[in-house]
């Protein structure tokens, strides 16, 4: 079990490349089997959901009918705002007097906060990871086009053994060109919807979806792009704490709803290097690198 919970954090922090030790996540969460735990974990849901819903496009041009392909990797980095590093925690149990205090979230300072109560008793709030960024890297494939529509897939799966289970990400999206109906040239406009599911064994179940309107403008080898979107995400964590077999479960909903994105793509032949910034309640920066074919409108089309 310890391996499992450690891996949960590993996945969230760096998806596959973190070297976090065995019992750490359980140690972090042990104190939080109560209402404070929800607030402690909420920023993780915000940042992880925002990351999943990013890096999904880097232009808005879709052919009517023709071969169009992009295969690459997107690295998203949610910048953790200071407001997401603390929450107002309330003492629990038989500690007296009941007290509210500013305590670290999972991203907050790593130091424990201890407050004194009656008769030299102390209530403690766990520290956090003390990090300012939550990166996430995912592989990405977009293929089209049929009647001005393309399909995006994100997929990865890895079996980490009996104790941890299978880590799996599956995402899909459909995008339809709007500029084929509207006289918007030279600006391309598309509407997209993307849905993603992420799981780690039976312990983590995350989902995210975003609907957006995308636009792009081509200037020489640079594509300027942007979009407005509406997004929702959930993060459900459930595991059995091995100390006393108590169940720990959090059903979290990401705070993000409206997002605005601006970015640019460098079209270096078939190589595409793109970066954008998303402004939202949980803002983030995206960097992508991949190979694209048929993504630039040819002269005269």
């Amino acid at each position: 079990m310890k391996g499992l919970v450690s891996f949960i954090v590993g996945v969230f922090i760096l998806f596959l490349s973190i070297n976090l030790r065995g019992q750490d996540f359980e140690d972090f969460m042990e104190k939080y089997t109560d209402v404070n735990g929800q607030s402690y974990m909420q920023p993780l849901a915000d940042a992880f959901g925002a990351n999943l819903n990013s890096g999904l496009y880097h232009n808005a041009y879709i052919q009517n009918n023709g071969f169009q392909l992009y295969l690459g990797i997107a690295v998203m980095n949610a910048v953790i705002p200071s407001r997401s590093k603390t929450f107002m925690g309330t003492t629990q149990g038989f500690f007296r007097p009941e007290t509210r205090v500013k305590a670290p979230t999972i991203f907050g300072k790593s130091e424990v906060v201890a407050i004194q109560g009656e008769g030299q008793t102390y209530y403690t709030f766990p520290g956090g990871l003390d990090i300012s960024n939550l990166p996430l890297a995912v592989p990405h494939l977009t293929v089209g086009a049929l009647y001005g529509t393309d399909l995006t897939l994100r997929w990865m799966a890895y079996d980490l053994g009996k104790e941890v289970g299978r880590i799996q990400l599956f995402g899909w999206g459909l995008r339809h060109s709007l500029d084929q109906y509207l006289p918007l040239q030279p600006v391309h406009v598309a509407a997209g919807f993307y849905n993603q599911q992420f799981s780690v064994g039976d312990a983590v179940d995350a989902s995210a979806w975003v609907a957006n309107i995308q636009a792009s403008y081509q200037w020489r080898f640079i594509t300027f792009y942007g979009g407005l979107g509406y997004e929702r995400s959930t993060l459900d964590i459930a595991y059995t704490y091995e100390g006393d077999d108590s169940k720990i479960a959090f059903d979290l909903t990401g705070d993000n709803t409206i997002r605005g994105t601006l970015g640019l793509t460098l079209n270096l032949g078939p190589m595409k290097l793109h970066s954008d910034y998303t402004l939202a309640r949980q803002s983030l920066l995206t960097l992508g690198l991949g190979v694209g074919i048929g993504e630039i409108q040819k002269m005269g089309e």
Binding site: S17, F94, I131
Partner: protein, 185 residues
């Protein structure tokens, strides 16, 4: 262009891979209940002994944990009415290894309810002594036990027949630190 692409990939790898040794602080909380069955007329004196090594085992701290502060988070008491009990309440003093941690604690005995309530009248020095004993155990392995003794009588009328089960719940918190290889983010 090769340089640029290489730089981008290197940046991504650094972002994903650079680690540093960092110290994180954790807390672990343990609740232990102590049972006292009182079947007595008038003043009583009962002791329940906790073995500190058992507490350590239950906490199951990582081997390389650096123990920091040890706190008593809360003390709670519940009293269960047993057959032929005449007392409507008891008044008690509590001692941990002979140091008073609660003074004149009045606990009503309600045949209809059995629930924990936070202890009133805690004695700061005695509560701290519990923490200190545990800290000493983690440092030196001693004391090996903590004896929790209750002395009391029926209340408000002393000398009544008391047949009750008293349960004390002691909630302890250990703050500890671990050094961890962690990405520099």
């Amino acid at each position: 262009m090769k340089t640029m692409l290489f730089s981008v990939m290197l940046l991504a790898l650094l972002m994903l891979g650079a680690c540093e040794t960092r110290t994180f602080e954790y807390v672990t909380t343990l609740s232990r209940t102590l049972d006292y069955t009182v079947d007595h007329e008038g003043a009583f004196n009962q002791t329940s002994v906790v073995t500190t090594s058992d507490l350590n085992d239950e906490m199951d701290l990582p081997e390389d944990a650096i123990i920091g502060e040890i706190y008593v988070e809360a003390l709670a008491v519940a009293v269960e009415n047993l057959s032929n009990n005449q007392a409507t309440a008891v008044i008690m003093d509590g001692y941990a290894n002979d140091r008073m941690f609660v003074n004149d604690l009045v606990s009503p005995i309600d045949p209809a309810t059995y629930e924990f309530t936070a202890m009133a009248n805690l004695v700061s020095a005695g509560v701290k002594a519990i923490s200190d004993d545990l800290a000493a155990y983690f440092m030196t392995g001693s004391p090996p036990t903590i004896a929790f003794r209750l002395e009391g009588d029926s209340h408000p009328t002393p000398g009544e027949t008391i047949h009750i089960r008293i349960t004390i719940e002691v909630t302890l918190t250990v703050q500890y630190a671990l050094e961890t290889e962690f990405p520099d983010i």
